[in-house]
Symmetry: C2
Subunit: 193 residues, 2 copies
Amino acid sequence: MTPSQPAKPRHHGDLKTALVEAGVALLSEGGHGALTLRKCAARAGVSHAAPAHHFNGRKGLMTAIVAQGFKLFTQTMLEHRDAADDNPHARLVAVCNGYLAFAQDNQAMAALMFRTEEVFSCDPEFQTASAAAYQVLAEACAPFNAGPAGARGVEVLIWSLVEGYASLARAGTIDTSQTPFADILPRLNLQLR
Amino acid sequence: MTPSQPAKPRHHGDLKTALVEAGVALLSEGGHGALTLRKCAARAGVSHAAPAHHFNGRKGLMTAIVAQGFKLFTQTMLEHRDAADDNPHARLVAVCNGYLAFAQDNQAMAALMFRTEEVFSCDPEFQTASAAAYQVLAEACAPFNAGPAGARGVEVLIWSLVEGYASLARAGTIDTSQTPFADILPRLNLQLR
DNA sequence: TGTACATCAGTGAACGCGCGTTCACTGATGTAC
DNA sequence: TGTACATCAGTGAACGCGCGTTCACTGATGTAC
């Protein structure tokens, strides 16, 4: 007889997922310094040697955690976009707001996602997850005039601006209530194609 | 008789400065992971207990290193600015180019300067150094129209854009040769006051 | 000029800590017959 | 249905590592007299 609950075939069940979720939680609660292989294992309720059966060492676990971060990031942007009016400008604003909301609510993760040295950047799952995030942004930029920098000009402009704004807000360098992003964006010279 | 060389009053001479310079060099050569109190001491040619006589532990040394980073940063922006034509637009472009040149040539330092948790952010020398850097940027933005976001709108716009561009370039997310910053900047809707 | 003394920068040994990794093992699970 | 076996996820102890910090010390320097 198969048990009534879905697939829990082995000892833990789905330790791989549990370790990643533990890492996401640790990062959220204690920042980058709190994210260690041993603490992930402890939080998932297993011995600290257990992760070795699922990940290629610490860096492998970090890669999976950051990939999960990119998935949440993509999801947040999509949610904002799909709740917006159906016109190019509203959609672009919504994607940017989703970007900033993710960065605000997941500060340590947002910072970690740009520390490429902590991750196996050739990992396929990681690459897929980060490419998907970029895709959301690129699609939102696509309706606008490419200008002198070629097709990627608008994407680089928007992404730089929103990433910089998020980064400076995280560091406390700018006061987001005094200069909200909504007041910054209209300064861009964006024209529909 | 005072010796002919300038002030070398004690055993080492100026260990405080030497430790900071060792830190800057370690950061440049080995990145954030190579920057430890013990390695700074070794590089300065003293025992690893020596720094305790000059800095308030590891975090105190880090604060001084980052403050030195901000001084170099300010200097780089000023050099670019002073070499530019004497009109507001050329000066703003030059300051941005100085910003990007520093970020490019001091990648680990540029990243560290935004990790506020590694530093005693209330340290006066640190505060002075970082405020001076911001001042250079703010002055370059001052001639331009403030717009809806108040006086800081242009500063936040420019700083976000250049910091984001530097950050994405560092992470390898954007290709600076394909979309150079010079092609991005003209997309901003900047008008003289 | 010389002596005694206080200062304090730098030493070197020791400490405890948490880290990632290794490895022989155990014991639950799924499968073959 | 029952037995034997292979698999392999997770254990727990041990390892070596580099880290920051502490502390009694030493010895060069500057100062007081």
